[in-house]
Symmetry: C2
Amino acid sequence: MTETVISSASKEIIIGFDRPFTIIGERINPSGRKLLADEMKTGDYSRVAADALAQVAAGAHMLDVNAGIPLADEPRILAEVIELVQGLTDVPLAIDSSIVAALESGLAVYQGKALVNSVTGEEERLESVLPLVKKYGAAVVAISNDETGISEDPDVRFAIAKKIVERAEDHGIPRQDVVVDPLVMPVGAIGQAGRQAMAILRRLREELHVNTTCGASNFSFGLPNRHSLNWSFLAMAIGAGLTSAITNPLHSEEMSAVMGANVVMGHDPHCADWIAKFREATGDGTGGARATSGRRGGRRGRRG
Amino acid sequence: MTETVISSASKEIIIGFDRPFTIIGERINPSGRKLLADEMKTGDYSRVAADALAQVAAGAHMLDVNAGIPLADEPRILAEVIELVQGLTDVPLAIDSSIVAALESGLAVYQGKALVNSVTGEEERLESVLPLVKKYGAAVVAISNDETGISEDPDVRFAIAKKIVERAEDHGIPRQDVVVDPLVMPVGAIGQAGRQAMAILRRLREELHVNTTCGASNFSFGLPNRHSLNWSFLAMAIGAGLTSAITNPLHSEEMSAVMGANVVMGHDPHCADWIAKFREATGDGTGGARATSGRRGGRRGRRG
């Protein structure tokens, strides 16, 4: 029973096989959001603050914070954003950067035990990120690619995940503090992407005994009606062993997928969360998915 | 690779591990539909005809036909309805009755290889239904309960399924012609119903190598927003090994669940069905579940 504890100054959440699924809000990320990037670069964090509050209100258990803006001082901005978000909400954070100096700058100001996002299987990354994770007593997302890129062979991706977990242990980071991202591929490009994801998630759980996360929406990239496809994918991935996802909690389909999966997995005792969220919206219980847009934030604060 | 072939006079469908999921339309059933029951009893089959056409248009690959009306001549009505439906559509049928004489009457007029719904593990049922299934060269749904009722222990339900499969073989009915219904319980009453269903579905596939079916909507009985919960349940059950379900194809959520699961399982090559169904409805690919109500029947006729 692997449990990954992540915390803020005042709140703890646990990612685990026998726990409700953990939703990590993805919105605080300037990639592909030019307006947000421009604002963050000039020190205007009003949209970051609004995104933080909206995601927590919608049910995010953690927030991912990324400040990757070209030609900007990422270490400074990331630290400032972390301080801002930690002043506004009590949910734990994932500190997200591809720049080691930014990860360190974020970890230095972070209150609690963060989730570092991420380390890959590349030698240079392993030996620069893992010592930081150890130094700050954090947990880390392990992305299953290495110098050779992202393999289409799920066995290779599993082997890389295993290497990262073992290397983390060499650095004194326990297995339960490594959350593996098996890299979900877009099914529109790779037809076996779903089967691959299910197979590797089962192995990560049953053989490597690690918690897992993924950028769930990547699966549906390029296809129509993405949120509906994400719904089936997310539910099936949770059934196969996925224990957290970096996703947008403002999308009702993905949230319904997760809440329904919690019921199926037996992680919503007496269906209490399901009933609390949907009782009013649908009245007689015959309502469809469209009724789910009336969010009530029923899960807020129930963890940790 | 277990494949269950079911046919009408002119069309064959295959239930199988490596096939798109099979949807068996549940609507032609007077249980709980007083108006339909009254009409059927007096020989007015206009609603039956409309239900048959609507379900096929919505994407049903098979139709379940039930004529269980108290104090009515069920053998005669069932045979008449089967002849009517076979005259209107070419999809194969499941002949659904708890009365052996009605099953025989239906089988006698059926054109093709039917799916008999159902036999249980009760001695009297085994020895009355299985000879009929053998005589008419049909396939059969095996429901995993027996004289002791429905066990809450999934191991007991698995053992009953195994007994039925073995008894069918004794009667000369091959294993691939037995489709097991593991009996999905309402999660509102039995909190572990989802976990149990997933566990028994995996065992039925990996140990007993049989196809499976279920009345999927039973899972959400008594809860609000049932169709959304059915969505997550159905997708997860397909991931665990479910290969068919008796459900209402007029519900867009359940159909989206199945179509999405087909994509995840790699059973919708090039996502062609998904794209055909949703491209127009959502335009830029950002639309949500509510767009799925614009059905186009894109899967109709693609099997067999």
